[in-house]
Symmetry: C2
Subunit: 334 residues, 2 copies
């Protein structure tokens, strides 16, 4: 079925309010879910909503938890998040990083003991749409073997980088350290297809494009083999240290994927005297887009364009496509 | 032949002084070349030395160029490098970033119009060995097609991250955005082998592990396909903006790989109240190292260990192995 954006926001907001969120938080959280749906990442939008409500009802997420600033300088703050609503704290963290950067040029907020932030691109995009360069990353539970290993001891730690562009879609990179997500493995298996490129190892240790074999072995491939593995470790070390928080190893011991460590960075272009930002970003992205394409029918694109294409399509349709079962489940929480 | 480390430093220093470097610069530059050799990256050590001297003699590198600080805040400096000695400016940039971080917690130096910094890991390693978290990246000339494109319009933009560890090798990631360097393609071809994994496309557009086919098509593979391509674009946009400098597109138009943009970031753990850094880094790295290995004879390792293994081996030998022809060429500059 199709659900209008504002209708979606309203339903999410009512449900979240009824589960104990105060009105500002419910409003912000509802828009995050609705925006993820609008921008085509419905896996972290409407499809995710029931699971978050279930977590709240089971007490795995404490909606009353309040962040505490446990250390601050003019450009850096460390927040103890007490395992509250991860995506709310991340959104507030990027907004605060931007505020800090308005004074010092660079603002950093380090989130300790936070929960899952859903779509990391949300926060880089928030920054880029407001004229900031946004950089953020999170660690995760141990869900991938390091290069050369069989057992999962590193995370797929998403790294997100947003760069503003007035005259076109901003650049929004949202990069997990695995070649494919478990969601992609599942959807590829369900559609009876193979992955476009090998995405992990089978139980015999051979690289494979068969999603089922990888789900079975749980030996997901770091992107670029040893390279994504190394970057995953680096991101985890830095975020664990900057937050004084939990590492992938620690989180792997919790059973659930909770108590994550995240970092949100905003750069204020005016304060850093960046010149001609929009012109430079546009010229460089258009240069890449005008590459000679491998497939003459597919223009080369850059990260972020897909989000805005999905948004345009949803807006043209006047509503967002949601699986009936999912929307009915959501309505049942009203 | 084998050359002692101190002998190597002395020879480099004498040659650099004779080519116009003042004594402090010659001494620092000589150690960078000798250290890259000592740590097993001789491609950016002794083997690179003759080319740099040739550049100096031809006037492509101006050893008399002095960096100018064109913008500064308590935590951020932008330097105009006037195309001087790239690795000297990068080393000084990271040292200055560390100084800034001693006051503010975070120091950033953005290098505009610099030349090639040789091994990017040098600067992350310098920081990590002195107790700082070091992060740096550079852009390059356009040497790789974006994902979905045939012609090279993005750079392999190395990203380096160093994290201190007292009780063992520090973590040093040195990550180019291509799956393999042109140097690796060449050495694999010369040894008559195939690449371990596909490293690019042949002229028919098929992924291949044949280095010669990739050298011919020049269609090097971004690591992780679309993922390394996206990260390459992100790193170039951010470094171009922060430096107000040249982008990969601009550098591609210069003919030579000159006038690069680089960023050096140091984080001071004490100023940022990072707790138990050495213990946390050690426990997390040892956890990863104790993964079940794919090959029972090959323990899982982390980025950086290889550098310190090479150093130990060279120190045990009392000298560094250099190809006769290379060392004789170097001596000819005396």
């Amino acid at each position: 079925m199709r659900v209008e954006y504002e209708k979606m926001v309203e339903v999410f907001e009512r449900i979240l309010t009824s589960r104990g969120l105060d009105s500002d938080d419910a409003s912000l959280a509802a828009r995050i879910f609705a925006d993820n749906s609008l921008y085509g990442v419905i896996s972290h939008g409407a499809n995710r909503f029931p699971r978050v409500i279930d977590y709240i009802e089971k007490g795995d997420i404490d909606v009353k938890a309040r962040v505490e600033t446990i250390f601050s300088t003019p450009l850096f703050e460390r927040w103890e998040c007490h395992r509250g609503l991860g995506f709310l704290n991340a959104a507030k963290g990027m907004a605060r990083a931007a505020e800090l950067s308005d004074v010092t040029g660079i603002g950093i907020v380090a989130l300790k003991n936070n929960n899952h932030w859903m779509r990391g691109g949300t926060y880089a995009q928030w920054a880029a749409e407001r004229g900031y360069i946004g950089i953020c990353w999170s660690n995760t539970t141990a869900n991938m073997p390091a290069w050369g290993a069989k057992d999962p001891r590193i995370g797929n730690n998403p790294l997100c980088i947003g760069v503003p562009r007035k005259s076109g879609a901003p650049f929004i990179l949202d990069l997990a350290m695995s070649q494919y997500s478990y969601g992609k493995l599942e959807s590829t298996r369900l559609s009876g297809k193979k992955l476009p490129y090998p995405g992990g190892f089978d139980e015999e240790g051979n690289l494979t494009d068969n999603p089922q074999s990888i789900e079975k072995s749980r030996r997901v491939l770091p992107f670029g083999y040893w390279k994504g593995s190394g970057l995953s470790i680096a991101l985890d070390l830095v975020v664990t240290l900057l937050t004084n928080g939990n590492s992938v190893m620690d989180i792997g011991g919790f059973g659930n994927e909770v108590g994550l460590s995240q970092i949100l960075i905003a750069l204020n272009p005016e304060k850093l005297r960046i010149e001609d930002m929009d012109d430079i970003v546009s010229r460089n992205l258009e240069y890449i887009k005008s590459s000679e394409p491998v497939d003459a029918k597919r223009k080369v694109s850059y990260p972020g364009e897909g989000l805005y294409r999905a948004k345009s399509a949803n807006e043209e349709n006047g509503a967002i496509e949601v699986v009936d079962e999912v929307w009915n489940k959501i309505l049942s929480y009203l």
